[in-house]
């Protein structure tokens, strides 16, 4: 593998890792703070991708579609939390698994009724459709760099939100001791709703910015959901920092595995997970 090729694969793996982080961050926060295992998290990614497809066709701009889509998915997240998830925070994990599995079926079928079962492509915005030439015949698409930039910006935003703001302080207090935080006058129900909506929005935005690269198709959430589980298991449940490092690690192993060891590429990531489990059964950064 020459340098240019290596650089392309490296950029691809970082971009994939950052995208996984956007999904896994929401999953790990929702578990860490509310104690809910959410199988439907992949559906939010799918929802985002379909929103990007239908909104960008109607509004004529992907950027506008992402902004409107983010607001819509936040509202959707708040509604879902209020209607269902809020009643499951204290329930058995088994009940949560079933609830969210039922939701996968419902979301898939609603998607099929609303948007059909076809595969769709989302055009890359004009402004970002260029490629940066690396050698005579190799180049790197600007849009993928844009994706990474958006993910990094959101990751930094998430870090600042959680560690530097008053809201973040309340979120951390709630995660540390729900009852104590409530006794000190923090509206813990509101915090839960906000965190849940945040997780949904992050997943949906990941789906939206990935739509032009990954295309939009039925069941696109399942595959990504399981990858997120792997990331969360490796990183340690509840740890956003762990999710970031694990996501980048999974991105690297998956991308380079496909190039260097194509016959076992599908299994490599799970072997990585097995190795981490042997070494640290509770993940690299257990909270």
């Amino acid at each position: 593998m020459d340098l240019a090729n290596f650089l392309i694969q490296l950029l691809n793996s970082v971009q994939y890792g950052l995208l996984l982080f956007m999904l896994a961050a929401g999953l790990t926060l929702i578990f860490g703070i509310m104690g809910v295992v959410n199988l439907a998290h992949g559906s939010f990614y799918m929802l985002g991708a379909y929103l990007a497809w239908s909104l960008s066709a109607q509004l004529g701009s992907l950027t506008l579609a992402i902004l409107v889509g983010a607001v819509l998915s936040a509202i959707f997240g708040l509604a879902l939390e209020w209607l269902l998830f809020r009643h499951f925070y204290h329930r058995d994990h088994l009940d949560q698994v079933l609830l969210t599995f039922g939701l996968i079926y419902i979301f898939e079928e609603l998607r099929s009724i609303l948007w059909g079962d076809d595969v769709h492509g989302v055009p890359i915005p004009e402004l970002l459709s260029a490629s940066i030439p690396l050698t005579d015949n190799l180049s790197y698409p600007v849009y993928r760099l844009f994706m990474s930039a958006v993910c990094i910006a959101l990751a930094v935003g998430l870090y600042l939100l959680i560690s530097k703001t008053r809201l973040g302080m309340k979120i951390r207090a709630g995660a540390f001791n729900r009852d104590m935080a409530g006794a000190l006058g923090i509206n813990i129900k509101l915090i839960h709703a906000v965190v849940f909506a945040l997780g949904v929005t992050l997943a949906a935005v990941a789906g939206m910015i990935a739509a032009p690269v990954a295309s939009v198709y039925p069941n696109m959430g399942s595959q990504v959901l399981i990858m997120c589980f792997v990331v969360v298991v490796i990183g340690g449940i509840g740890s956003v920092r762990g999710a970031m490092i694990a996501a980048l690690l999974v991105g690297l192993v998956d991308t380079f595995g496909k190039v260097l060891l194509p016959s076992v590429a599908g299994m490599l990531v799970y072997m990585l997970m097995a190795a981490v489990l042997l070494w640290k059964p509770e993940g690299l950064f257990k909270q």
């Binding site: 698994v97 299994m267 799970y270």
Partner: protein, 340 residues
């Protein structure tokens, strides 16, 4: 957290009577039903074996596995590989080998997963099942995404001797009664296991693993044994599935299938194996009903079966989290309370 749900290990007299009546109905059924329904009930019984094997983990030991379908599929694949293209092989050595394959798979994966607890266990079992899924999905040698055909049903001749003309799994009624016999054997085995010292230790792990360890039980060994045994029994179901349908594909190992298993166990009531059987029958029947819904105007209701199943699951878990047997028990209690 699964300790919060007290398990119904001792079956009330009423439930025992209902089960006995159910068994009589199952024995009599082929005399009344058409071939289509005989095949459907055969499949329900196969799923009931699968659900019971999962109940050993989920209801008895308190381990929620979201990857149990992998072991179901492994035995089916084992059967496909053991069956040469042109001839049928004997059940008497392929069945043990296929079950062994599933058990071995569960032993290896169990070695990694039973170190984890609660939510980790759920996610890790699912991820490893997906790994096996991809192993078969990505490799053409292993059948790839299309899966493999099992062209013949295994023969059940005893050393080349067939005692009766119908002594052949190609006969739908023979396959039906064979499956029923396996179902009863597995049920009897698991019920005995439940009340054996080993079963009591598993129940102890569900209620309080720390205390079990403090009392000197090597809980890792117990959990690994349970996981392996459950995988092997799931393989028994997978073998029968491959025999009945004549094909096996990666989808059968996917997490939808695993989640269906969890659903069956919950639907009936956990921890006593009878509930798993009831749940498997009820779930498969519901699936059949939802897929068979009529067309009203331009809307084909049956095509949207996932929506109805999804809504059903959400409603069930919201309002009746302890399943059918739980409802029976609750009804019984409230009636007793009324008497006093």
């Amino acid at each position: 957290m699964s300790t919060m749900k007290a398990n119904l290990e001792v079956l009330p007299r009423g439930v025992q009577v209902a089960l006995a009546l159910g068994l009589i109905a199952l024995v009599a059924f082929p005399f009344t039903g058409t071939d289509f329904y005989v095949q459907m009930v055969t499949r329900m019984m196969i799923m009931a074996i699968f659900a019971m094997s999962l109940d050993l983990l989920q209801g008895v030991t308190g381990l929620v596995s979201l990857g149990h379908a992998a072991y179901f599929g492994l035995a089916g694949y084992a059967l496909a590989f053991l069956m040469p293209q042109g001839e049928a092989v004997s059940l008497w050595w392929t069945l043990p080998l296929a079950v062994l394959a599933s058990g071995l798979g569960a032993l290896i994966i169990g070695f990694f997963v039973v170190r984890t607890h609660g939510i980790y266990f759920i996610m890790v079992t699912m991820a490893f099942a997906q790994m096996i899924f991809f192993l078969f999905f990505d490799n053409k040698v292993l059948g790839g995404s299309d899966g493999l055909y099992i062209n013949f049903k295994p023969t059940i001749a005893l050393f080349g001797w067939t005692p009766f003309a119908w002594w052949d799994l190609d006969n739908k009624h023979t396959l039906y009664y064979f499956t029923l016999a396996v179902l009863l054997l597995v049920y009897a085995f698991l019920r005995r296991l439940l009340w054996s010292p080993f079963g009591r230790a598993l129940a102890g792990i569900r209620v309080n693993e720390h205390r079990m360890r403090a009392m000197g039980f090597g809980t890792f060994r117990y959990k690994l044994t349970a996981f392996t045994l459950a995988g092997a029994l799931a393989g028994l179901a997978g073998y029968l599935w491959g025999t009945q349908t004549g094909y096996i594909n990666p989808e059968l190992m996917g997490f939808h299938m695993s989640a269906h298993g969890i659903m069956m166990v919950i639907l009936g009531g956990m921890g006593n194996f009878a509930g798993a059987i009831v749940g498997a029958f009820a779930f498969e029947y519901l699936l059949h009903v939802f897929k068979d819904l009529p067309r009203i105007g331009s809307v084909n209701l049956g095509k949207h079966w996932q929506l109805w199943m999804g809504l059903f699951i959400v409603l069930l878990v919201t309002f009746a989290p302890r399943g059918i047997l739980g409802l029976v028990e609750r009804f019984g209690k409230s009636r007793k309370a009324g008497d006093e």
